[in-house]
Amino acid sequence: MSSDALWQLGPETLVALAAVVVYVAGAFAAPRAAWSWVGLAGLGAAALCLASTTPQAAEPLRIDALALWLRWFALASGALLILTSWRPAADADGAELLGSLLLIIAGMMLVAAAGDLVLLFLGLELISIPTYIVLFVGRRTSEGREAAVKYFYLSILASAILLFGLSFLYGAAGTTSIEGIHQRLLDGGGSLGGFAGLALVFIFAGLSYKIAAVPFHFYAPDVYQGTTNDGAALLSVAPKAAGFLALVRLVAVAAEGVSSDAWRIALALAVLTMTTGNLLALWQDNLRRLLAYSSIAHAGYMLIGLAVYLGGNTLAGAAFDGVAALLFYLLIYALATVGTFAALNYLGETGQPVDHVDQLAGLAWSEEPRSRATAWLIAAFMFSLTGIPPLAGFWGKLALFAGALGVRGTEPAMRSWFVGLAVLGIVNAAIAAAYYLRVVGAMFFRMPMGKPRTGGSRSVPFAAAVICALLVVAIGLIPTPWYEAADRATPAAAAREAPEMIADAR
């Protein structure tokens, strides 16, 4: 790795340094709140560094607009996750949890910046390994341990599958550089031959675990339920964002156009994932389990965007690029989901988290003003996840579904497949409304069960929920700049605007 590349990795290094400080110093002093400030400071320093570094090509990195988008996303979502898991001072495990969280953020940023198969894989593992710690330490009950073990074993299986898929790419191109593989496969210098489809299947399967796509999702409901609200918030954002970015890098960039199987796999996974996620969510009364299935369903929606991009050849004037819609949706989904977990964290008390829909009953009529406000916040998140205008979720779904409708297709019957995909997406959104509205209904139309919650000591998670809600409303009212930011980050935009930068990278 050249020194240029090391400089370019400044933000990641700073975040990892903050993690080290927290880990080491945390052995001597436990208070969680203080370490949270250190963590935020680390993220702030990384943000400053990211803003002041001029992106420049340096193997084995790939600092393009997509990488920058995800690095900013990682920093912002990392800050929100720290706020969400803010605890009162007396918490002995604070430092371990926070350090792991920081490492996961560094991992996300590394995945974003990776221009090489090895570095990409390393980044993904830098997310997975601290996650095991978070799951294990976060909740020391038998349920929590079971969750950690499940995640651990199945994650290893998925990593193995992914590595196997990557080995095909290396074998065909003779290089681990993503751009190199892309060029070789385009020039015909290397060939996957009949193995192209196989490579794609293994890559999709391995990464489907990270994004929790069916049938690689099995762990999600059990693990979400078994861990804390903070842990669930983390799981619903970090692996998913990194997994989608890796999918875009590997399938849409490195293996671009090698096989017409790509869009078919993405489309099949999208159909299966959103439908299964929504149908199973209908049955859930446990909030984290419900949100686990919800996050599975949303991965399905985002796969629509990937399928649209891989399908290529859109109608003239079609407004929405598949990858742009995916990134836009990812942001909106993450805000609403993290916001919900933050709100739940605010409501719960140490050792007694809120984890059942019934526990929210009558929240909107609670005596405590902030609990009443929390009911409105959660309602906003649920409406956004359902996709009701004028909240952000509406525009996210519009971009994905309209993108699918805009595909003309290169093969016969392809257009009708994508039209069917959009229709199925809309039907799914309607089914999803049933369980999101059930949560809203419980808060507004049911009598409270048990004692009213106080939750007064956790004002920071409340603030996190407020920030998320404000953003959900703001994106709903002014969606264009956010979509355009995502649009500038797509591979399509990179091909339009800066061919010379990619040439330099080689």
Binding site: Y153, A205, S208, F216, L279, G317, A319, F320, W417, T480
Partner: protein
């Protein structure tokens, strides 16, 4: 001054919204009895900004551009748009063939753009001014009410919605705020929701308005398909070419809005349907009288001065669309003239003070529609002028009625009180001014504006080639003027003259209202007396309004006919009519309902007219028979079908997703080996699909 316009345009809606938000958040826990402060201050700031906007636009008008029709200079009017942000873009949504191989493609855009032009500025100034006075009045009127803070939060929200309604520059956003003011109206009509009548009235208003809004929505769709844009103003397309807005300069300059025939007529009729709902025109007027269940300041603000005029505003804004179709114009004029007469006839016999005023509002709105329906620049100006003066005197009358109710312990039946002029001296004096203005007493505001409408209709009737319709409408409007003067003073004399009579609800301590209620009354009375004359003399209103692009277009396309000299004649006629109506009312109801009045009523009863008017021409009953009963019958039948067939079907369909979910739930059994097998199985299926082709999966 012009550089201030963007700031002012933003401040006008934002200040009341901020006030409403503050009151909503802090009202119950902190502000309590001071909940009016944020809203009143917000509206006051908004009014100052609106006044500034009127002046700023006035200062920016091209010099020497006075009467557009008079000179031969081509006057396009003045507009200034401020783009706030772009709410949505959907590329290539509009796709129309424009030749054998060519096609027109446009983006679907929702631009959040505020516009400043004389029409908007006048509406903004009027709305914020009346709102301010009504808000101040409400401080006294609503004092002690349990929902004090809720009331002011709603009022602030309403002022925000209404100012946005008149300043947006896009049909879709117009629709959004059209619904928003409807929502505020619903909330405020049903403000005392514990009272069944109030809750029912709110519901009725909401449902009747749905019919109109449905028409409006269809009209917006049709505008999109016909024009490929929903913006009023011109915008720059993605390809750098100008996309001509529906009412933009690029389109109007050409001398034609580019569509005609059936489409233009349909757009016109659908927009008219929308306007009829909001502005309570026949046959959708039935909600307005019931809306009087709301607090009286609300009746004054929303159901007399501002919201109900939204339909008139929309038609004035769309005047160029109206001009494209003679059928559409005649429909507007006919609906307006007929509603004016109908409202006047019903108001004759009502005994509820607020309902008399409500029917009067319906009738006066009919006048405005009639003015716009002439399709001439004079008619449009007159309609807007009447809207402007009506806002002052009708708000005044409602607030006066509120003051009477305040003193009478909530009683509104004019048969149950009388001779109040000594108990309520200020209310009496201001109410008199309002009544004179409404009846068209010479030299008060209502006289000039109503007169101008009559002149416009008269001229249109005199125009060669026009049908006899306008002649009929002229006579009908003149008759309505007589009715107006009569029913207004019937109510006035019954309330303030004759034998002193106070209902027991007043509790024996009927007294004049507090100062916060009297000051708005006096201010409004001064305005009601003077604004008409001021603008008649200076010509300021007409000259200013005609700088609006839509109205300027009318002036260019349909130049004002040379003065026929009919003006003076019409003015004389209407003065005589007004005096005759007042005199008749005085003869019958002053000092107290006289023997002559009873004789008149008996005569009316003999021919059945009295009943007809008292029961509002049985329109509610007609609704009952034509719509509600069949509706209920259909509902019962549907209910049966629904319960027995559909519900079971739906329940079945509704059970399918959970059932499928339940069927696949056992897979989620919590065992790691099983999950691993599941993942590998999924992998194998995908592999099989790739290796053996997707055919067996159906692709």
């Amino acid at each position: 001054m012009e550089s201030w316009i963007p700031l002012l345009l933003v401040l006008i809606p934002v200040l009341p919204l901020a006030g409403a938000a503050l009151t909503a958040v802090l009202g119950r826990p902190v502000l309590a009895g001071r909940s009016h402060l944020p809203v009143v201050v917000g509206i006051a700031g908004s009014f100052l900004a609106a006044a500034g906007l009127v002046l700023a636009i006035h200062g920016s008008l091209p010099a020497g551009a006075n009467l557009p029709g008079a000179g031969d200079s081509v006057n396009a009017g003045y507009e200034r748009t401020v783009d706030l942000w772009n709410w949505a873009v959907i590329g290539g949504a509009y796709h129309q063939p424009a030749g054998p191989d060519a096609f027109v493609m446009r983006d679907f855009r929702i631009d959040v753009t505020l516009r400043a032009d004389p029409l908007s500025a006048i509406m903004l100034a009027m709305v914020t001014f009346i709102s301010l006075l009504v808000a101040v009045y409400s401080v006294g009127y609503m004092r002690g009410d349990r929902g004090y803070w809720r009331f002011f939060a709603y009022i602030g929200l309403f002022v925000f919605s209404m100012t946005m309604l008149v300043s947006v520059s896009n049909f879709l956003l117009l629709y959004v705020f059209w619904e928003a003011v409807g929502l505020c109206s619903y909330l405020l009509i049903g403000f005392w929701y514990e009272r069944p009548a109030a809750a029912a009235a709110g519901k009725k208003a909401f449902l009747v308005n749905r019919i109109g809004d449905f028409g409006f929505a269809l009209g917006v769709f049709l505008i999109w398909t016909a024009f490929g844009t929903l913006n009023f103003h011109d915008t720059l397309g993605a390809d750098g070419r100008i996309v001509a807005g529906v009412l933009g300069e690029a389109r109007l300059e050409g001398g034609s809005i580019g569509i005609g025939g059936g489409t233009a007529t349909w757009i016109c009729l659908l927009l008219l349907l929308g306007a009829c709902g909001k502005s309570a025109q026949f046959p959708l007027h039935v909600w307005l009288p019931d809306a009087m269940e709301g607090p009286t300041p609300v009746s004054a603000l929303i159901h007399a001065a501002t919201m109900v005029t939204a339909g008139v505003y929309m038609l004035a804004r769309c005047a160029p669309l109206l001009l494209a179709t003679v059928d559409g114009q005649m429909a507007v004029a006919l609906i307006g003239g007929f509603t004016a007469l109908l409202g006047g006839l019903i108001a004759l016999t009502q005994t509820d003070l607020k309902r008399i005023l409500a029917y009067s509002t319906i009738s006066q709105l009919g006048y405005m529609f009639l003015g716009l329906g002439t399709g001439t620049v004079l008619g449009a100006t007159a309609g807007m002028f009447h809207l402007f003066t009506h806002a002052f005197f009708k708000a005044l009358l409602f607030l006066g009625a509120g003051s009477v109710m305040h003193a009478m312990g909530g009683v509104v039946d004019i048969r149950r009180f009388g001779g109040l002029r000594r108990i309520l001296p200020v209310t009496h004096a201001t109410f008199l001014v309002g009544c004179l203005a409404l009846s068209g007493f010479p030299l008060l505001s209502g006289f000039f504006s109503k007169d101008l409408i009559l002149v416009a209709v008269h001229e249109r009737a005199a125009e060669s080639g026009s049908t006899g319709l306008y002649q009929w409408l002229y006579w009908s409007a003149a008759l309505t003027a007589l009715l107006t003067a009569f029913y207004t003073f019937r109510a006035f004399f019954s309330t303030f003259y004759g034998q002193k009579q106070i209902p027991h609800e007043a509790g024996g301590q009927a007294h004049e209202a507090p100062r916060s209620m009297l000051v708005p009354l006096v201010v409004l009375a001064v305005c009601a007396a003077l604004v008409g004359g001021y603008f008649e003399v200076t010509h300021g209103f007409a000259d200013y309004l005609q700088q609006t692009p839509s109205i300027a277009y009318l002036a260019r396309q349909a130049p004002q006919p040379a003065a026929t000299g009919g003006h003076r004649e019409v003015m004389l006629t209407s003065a005589v009519i007004a005096l005759a109506g007042i005199g008749l009312a005085a003869a019958l109801y002053w000092p107290r309902r006289s023997a002559a009045a009873d004789a008149a009523r008996r005569a009316g009863q003999a021919v059945g007219f009295y009943q007809l008017s008292l029961r509002k021409f049985f329109i509610d009953e007609v609704y009952q028979v034509l719509l509600v009963w069949p509706g209920l019958a259909v509902a019962r039948a549907s209910d049966w079908i629904d319960q027995r067939i559909i519900d079971r079907l739906v329940n079945f369909v509704g059970r399918v997703p959970p059932a499928v979910g339940a069927a696949i739930r056992p897979v989620q059994n919590g065992l790691i080996p099983f999950y691993a097998v599941g993942m590998v199985f999924g992998l194998l299926v995908l592999l099989a699909a790739v290796l053996m082709g997707w055919g067996w999966l159906g692709t």
